[in-house]
Assembly symmetry: C2
Homo-oligomer: 734 residues x 2
Amino acid sequence: MGIGYWDLIGHWSLGIGHFIGNYKIVIKFMLDKLFSPRSVAVIGASRDKQKLGHQVLANILKYGYRGKVYPVNPAAGKILGLKCYRSALEIKGAVDLAVVAVPAAVVPQVLAECGQKKIPSAIVISAGFKEIGGAGAILEAEIKAIAKQYSINLLGPNCLGIMDVVSRLNASFADGMISPGGAAFFSQSGAVGTAMLDWSKQNNFGFSRFISLGNKADISENEILEFLAEDKNTKVILGYLEGFTDGRKFLAVCQKATALKPVIILKAGRTAAGKRAITSHTGALAGQNEVTAAALKQAGAIQVDSLNELFDYARLFASQPLIRGNRLAIVANAGGPSVMATDAVVESGLQLAKLSDSTLKKLKAGLPATAAIHNPVDLVGDARADRFELGLNAVLSDKAVDAALAILTPQTMTEVTKTAEVIVSLSRKYGKTVATSFIGGAKVEPGIKILTTGGVPNFLYPEAGVRAMGAMAGYQRARKLESQKVRMRVVDLKTWKVVGGLLNGGGEQVGWQTAEEILKIYKIPMVKSAVAADAGVAVKLAGKFKYPVVLKVAAKKLLHKTDAGGVLVGLKTAGEVETGFKKLNKIAKKFGGEVLIQPQILGGREIIMGVRRDPQFGPVVMFGLGGIYTEILKDVVFRVAPLDQAESLKMIQEIKAFKLLSGARGEKGVKLAALADMLCKLSELATDFPQIEEVTLNPVLATTKGCLAVDVRIITNYELRIKVKRQNLKVKEN
Amino acid sequence: MGIGYWDLIGHWSLGIGHFIGNYKIVIKFMLDKLFSPRSVAVIGASRDKQKLGHQVLANILKYGYRGKVYPVNPAAGKILGLKCYRSALEIKGAVDLAVVAVPAAVVPQVLAECGQKKIPSAIVISAGFKEIGGAGAILEAEIKAIAKQYSINLLGPNCLGIMDVVSRLNASFADGMISPGGAAFFSQSGAVGTAMLDWSKQNNFGFSRFISLGNKADISENEILEFLAEDKNTKVILGYLEGFTDGRKFLAVCQKATALKPVIILKAGRTAAGKRAITSHTGALAGQNEVTAAALKQAGAIQVDSLNELFDYARLFASQPLIRGNRLAIVANAGGPSVMATDAVVESGLQLAKLSDSTLKKLKAGLPATAAIHNPVDLVGDARADRFELGLNAVLSDKAVDAALAILTPQTMTEVTKTAEVIVSLSRKYGKTVATSFIGGAKVEPGIKILTTGGVPNFLYPEAGVRAMGAMAGYQRARKLESQKVRMRVVDLKTWKVVGGLLNGGGEQVGWQTAEEILKIYKIPMVKSAVAADAGVAVKLAGKFKYPVVLKVAAKKLLHKTDAGGVLVGLKTAGEVETGFKKLNKIAKKFGGEVLIQPQILGGREIIMGVRRDPQFGPVVMFGLGGIYTEILKDVVFRVAPLDQAESLKMIQEIKAFKLLSGARGEKGVKLAALADMLCKLSELATDFPQIEEVTLNPVLATTKGCLAVDVRIITNYELRIKVKRQNLKVKEN
């Protein structure tokens, strides 16, 4: 961004309160000009109705925008009744926003003119940039540089534009205008954006703002998210993303946003990422999907997997108050759909509310004998609107109920519209979360219209309504848990120099002794080991270590010891050590390494932990049980580093087989605090040194008393050190 | 059913071809009178438009039914222009079907009159039976007996009735008439039925027949399924069920049906079943959901979890040809939704088709340079109908493509209706499975109408379309696999007598020696064991067995040995055996049992297998790895017994941790054939003896050489023997 984005981040990373404050004000100030400009220039305005430059201008004029509008086109005199300027420089008054719709090749020139005119924000609608590759990418780099040079906040290129209900501005080439509502939507895909707009009209869905991100040359989801978090007109933030511009920044920004309001993200591209080359266990497991899911969870965002869920959740979150707890009451005129909704309740993290005695009394008194008064309440098939009213009044006034779902199927006596009216009015009366499932087609449609207009979302399928409520309860739970914020790491200068030096000399795979030293500095306990120069030394060391012992090959060029036959365990005699040494020494020589000897640790649970630098989210920690649990059952958990002790412990508790660690079938559990400590330190090591690509401790043996790493692999990548920005890190002299 | 239903099953179970043939003809003949009656009597016909008896009569007359119609009502003269009869007995001509809509209390009487009049089939619409409990249940038993006495095939009571497009008969009190189509739908819930009817009208969805099952006093899903399987007008069978009338019969009937056409079942009530009391490992794991899912899979049926999926799948299956393989091509004017569809492809068991070179050439020649010609094909946002035509023509003519999904979002240049027309015509031209995802609202609606009318289902969300296609491919795969049919077991008389005798004397938990003997007869290998009468004997036996040994308490009253501290393993010396014996002897005395000694089997994988009598599906086999895998990871598989060797092997291969058995990380695999054999025999044992409630072998130790049961528990239940019908079983003298 124009005004020195990374400088700001630098200050912000210091963690000093007033800087954060200033930064926020800056973001808000910057994007205010974009969303609420006092004046707009349309560069490339055209008389030709087929041209985007015409459509954009017409849209700006059409929906009540009250600022000044300047069409710019070197060839035209007047367009749509407005005087046309030959260039932005010709405009007399100040311009807050330029909307650019000229051919790609001309964009650099007009953008520079905008800069000279000191226009602070621009939307580049024109296509023909990075999305077409080669020359387009070069052109995009060029406009990015121009934006930076002139401090222009640039949205796009290759985007639809924006719509804003507050300033009544449709600065896009999309038909129609959004109706007012509480949801802001940003989309990295124009097509998803237009689909969403079309869907919203049919479903009476309202927006505060609509933003098409396009290629994200300058403004990305991060700035938008930060702006929307503070935006009073926005109640819920919806986003469609195909990739993260800066995952770690996203995490920080999103954590702040979700503390204030729900953020629902649809991230496409799950499968494509699965194709990544598999180079290591940690790498293979930490696919982009898993890391994205972990990061979104850490950020407190609600991740949806489909447009379906996005639309469903959006309708509930935008129209209803946030759910107070997780206790749902179901009131229905049909048993079957009620059972289906009940099935979905537990799966969605909700529970069926246990109705109080007084509620049950009310229901018993008012409903026919064949009705079911316990939740789910069955009003019986011949229920008219009055019976729905009685049932919903009873459950919504119950303190043990946080939300209600009313299910209606069109039967002989059913009063569809009257029931809808009753539900709308009760939803307002109690202020609790209410949704409906009027199931069917033409018969229920008039009822659904009344509901939607009245702010009660209807779900054609009851399970979908329950799931949306479950997502709401999940958001509330996550907010209460106050997941750990991404922390700032402060490394002391001495460590920075010593470990940095060790890593620098390490090569691609850091040598064994160096790795041992680094772990020692980070207080990560590791089993002792020694180099066995020859068979005699090996036997002598074995005697010192006590049998059984382990022999293994350590060689920088050997990434997978076990696969190469380079590990021998359980050697019980001098003879076995001698034979073993000879065998391994051959392998060691082949790879230019040496033979190590270690005492064999008996008992203990096998653990694997690792940390890997993700291209989007930076260092990501992995934890799992060793062997089959990780390799076959994929029972592993991820988190963006660094973690503190508490978050490490939470992470460990998330594996499915956690009972194996905490003690199952009468066995004592392992010392979890020691494991959490090790995980936490591992996460700090990788955060502190951007040149680290991967650290794997496999296995770590955990016992009731503590834990010990048995094998270590550290991989560095100096390309990375140059490319990767220093993330949440500061070196301090102490 | 009137004509001796179980007698027929008896013959059928003999497995004699012509009996099966006859049985089929009988079912068809019986239900033909119901669906295509030459004449209908409406018992309880009324002049009062508010009464069901009026609505039913009006519906029968309204939609072109060509048979004779006789209103019956003792009080009326003429109704809707027809002469009214005082009772069924008064009618002169033959009557094929009686539709009964009189108060519940009067139903027995009018049904008896129908019987005397020799009316072969009846639909009882009246409510007030089992669904209201107590007196209603007694009344239902009464009408069931009357139906049996007079050989009446009875549908209901408490149902909506039926609709049939072939005989143009609406013998129900539901408004309107189904439009003709290839889907038959049966529903155990009237509300789900009416919702489906209402939905179908709005979505232009056609039916062959619609059946409301009601309380299933006589005709159940099984007879309906059998009839629909043979029905030429039905292309796909849809069913909504809340419970199975006879699960084992359902399995057999459904297997036959799914060999002919797809059967899609929505079974509600997953959560409620989860509440069952947990009495054993096998019992706890084999919840009703898991057993139902296993049985439906074994039956070749497609199980859906929600109305949403039911409606989605129904639309695709009813309108499009069955998919030929699993290779899908995606053609879209938008990148984002295309990525989302791609994400769903692998998850749905499909794969992205690899387009042939000639297809790629065609696409390259016809599409703009910015288009993506590899699958998913991106036509770019400004694609008009001609570009969709070119793209779809290219992929559908490719032999490497089995199905196509066309995705459209409404953008500036998009031709919604023209594109829809093109797709409809191409879908007909190639005869491959085609679906669309026109995403949006008002703008895409006219296109969706054209598509639906033209037999191409549209999915608002592309993932939903992909999932429906995936279900279709799954059905085709399952059909090709030809899953094992439920087999007939023939037990020889000697075994029947011997094992029967042993079980009879066994009590609730069969004693250890008896259980050992039974396993021996069924050739299930078990580790040797002996009773240690005192510590001296124990030490002597230990010497004979060789150390280490195992001591355990065997007592009929002790169901969970380990939990009671009744198992000691790894005893290595005479001293340990002596101390151990003393400890266990106390426990043995407490439970009135004795102490057993076994040699300890070293090495081997721990397996758990069991079989349990499910109230709906009879004996159900469970297989899993022991310990954590079963208890914590729930990595277990179920099948309805009996299994043959091949099916047992397939079942074993379905556990997630199968690699642990087949050999992982350089280890040799266990002898799978031996495991499969044991599982197969276990399944036979439980099938042969209905008095067996549960058999658990836990653990079984499997090695590279074979497998051996180490512990056994057999539980009998004589209540069960009386209640449970003999399922797929015949005793033969040999």
